[in-house]
Amino acid sequence: MGLDFAALAPSYPFILRGIWVTLQIVAVAAVLGFLFGVILSLMKIGRFTFLRWIADAYTSVFRGTPLVLQLMIIYFGLPQVLGIEIAPFVAAFSAFALNSAAYVSEIIRAGINAVDQGQKEAAQALGISYGEMMKDIILPQAMKNILPALMNEFITLTKESAIVTTIGVMDIMRRAYIVGGETFSYFEPLLFAGFIYYCLVMVLTVLGRLVERRLRQSD
């Protein structure tokens, strides 16, 4: 099997323009997913049984069903049921954010539980309110420990974003398919897309290391 990457030369910019699309989806989904994940994790460790029950149910549903199905339900199902318009881009980042939040909440919960119990007791002894204790004392310490796990989640998110091809968002993967269709060559555009994803993940990895080093400065 001969691979001919030169024949694709005019089409490379077309695939490369998908990077921006992918990055937008992943960035918005990562930020929203993280924020929502924090809320969920707080619900899980909190005192209210009802909130804990909701957060657990949410996590089990979003971890227990395929992401591509969640995406389909949001993109095809919701507009029909609710009669609202959902743009492909919005459907994409919503699905990823909602899904990612379920995973992130478990990571953060683990991080919070790993912070020494004495910290909490000391904060209570000093009369610091629950909210402030979480924000200023517990969560910052938890973040440091769970950073590698969070990076894992963001990397997964970046690569998983390729499933938006099913709803026709012009991301890196969909563009690779289209180039494949146009040039009647299958492997070359996909390998090129793979190379782009690899580079993106490498950049994420380096960024993660930098943040990690920065957080460890105080050790």
């Binding site: 918005v28 919701l78 099913t166 009647f184």
Partner: protein, 336 residues
């Protein structure tokens, strides 16, 4: 950007949370007393909850519900397609982001005649019928064939393009006609009309094993990997592949079935089916349809569409095509 996105997602979470119970009955009422719910929605989305917004919101929702029988001149029709199928619909990825092809030109011609605006939306082939079902697109042109199964979920126009099926094999396979397929593995695209054709072949010839793949390029790849001995494709598509790959060859199957051809898919009971059929008949009568077919399938264009293996050739072809495209672009008011 992030803030806007956050608001939208916030609104989505909100609607998703309260939607199941509260919004569902609302859809059945027309106008009426559902203001409260909408005001709440708007307060979250737009931070503005005046009456005007509420009305707009109502109109939008009702509009989406009644769309099937409320197309008027000047409306924008959204056409769903899968832009990886030259020369029916594809993107000249070296040149632009625009979807072009035979189907696009024909869609432009028909909607122009009927006084609609046209917007083309790309998605996976498998998502097209669901998109039609759920009102995301108004019609579908994607080299689609009106099979019995599809007719249950969509209306179809008259056939606007007929083509035969071809069997594509490796050049050194020695398969020259249908009987040579005995005991061979035959690949077919999942959900394509050729699936039915493959089943017929299975009955006629002994020991054919049929396997499906999602995409045509994948099937061609399976010939290269020796998992498939042959694949069955529409003959125009098969020609493109054999022209571009010296190690492939093909032969055409006798064409029998009546539904063998491409048709436009609409929502069930859509008023568009009849309107489009009317224009199709006119175009067929005036010979314009044949002209379009010649324009896209006369070999030259089809060859240029499949950028060749040889880079120099590709550039030449693209240059030659530029001029043609420039003219066609004028007709294409789709794609924003």
């Amino acid at each position: 950007m992030k803030k806007a996105g956050f608001l939208i997602a916030g609104a989505m979470l909100f609607t998703a949370a309260c939607g199941a119970e509260e919004n569902a009955p609302e859809l059945n009422e027309t106008g009426g007393n559902n203001g409260d719910n909408n005001v709440e929605n708007n307060a979250d989305t737009n931070e503005a909850a005046d009456n005007e917004d509420t009305d707009e919101n109502n109109n939008e929702e009702n509009g989406a519900e009644n769309e099937e029988d409320a197309y008027e001149e000047g409306d924008t029709l959204i056409m769903g397609t899968s832009a990886d199928y030259p020369p029916f619909e594809y993107i000249e990825t070296g040149e632009s982001e625009e979807i072009v092809g035979f189907d696009i030109d024909l869609a432009n011609r028909i909607t122009e005649e009927l006084g609609y605006e046209l917007e083309v939306e790309d998605m996976d082939f498998g998502s097209l019928i669901p998109a039609l079902d759920t009102d995301r697109v108004d019609f579908v042109m994607a080299g689609m064939r009106p099979t019995e199964e599809r007719r249950e979920n969509a209306d179809f126009s008259d056939i606007y393009f007929r083509s035969a099926h071809s069997i594509v094999t490796a050049a050194d396979s020695g398969i020259e006609d249908v009987d040579d397929l005995e005991g061979m593995t035959l690949g077919v695209q999942l959900g394509s009309i050729q699936e039915g054709q493959a089943e017929e072949l299975q009955e006629d010839v002994e020991g054919i094993e049929v396997e499906t793949r999602d995409r045509i390029p994948e099937m061609i790849q399976e010939i290269h990997t020796n998992r498939f001995d042959a694949v069955i494709l529409a003959d125009t598509v098969a020609d493109n592949y054999t022209d571009d790959n010296d190690d492939l060859t093909s032969f055409t199957l006798p064409n029998e079935a009546e539904e063998d051809g491409n048709a436009i898919a609409f929502q069930l009971d859509s008023q568009l089916t009849e309107e489009f059929n009317g224009v199709l008949a006119e175009l067929e009568e005036s010979g314009e349809l044949d002209e379009l077919i010649l324009e896209w399938f006369d070999g030259d264009v089809a060859d240029a569409a499949g950028a060749g293996e040889d880079e120099e050739e590709t550039e030449e072809d693209n240059d030659a095509e530029n001029n043609e495209e420039a003219d066609e672009d004028n007709n294409n008011t789709n794609e924003d």
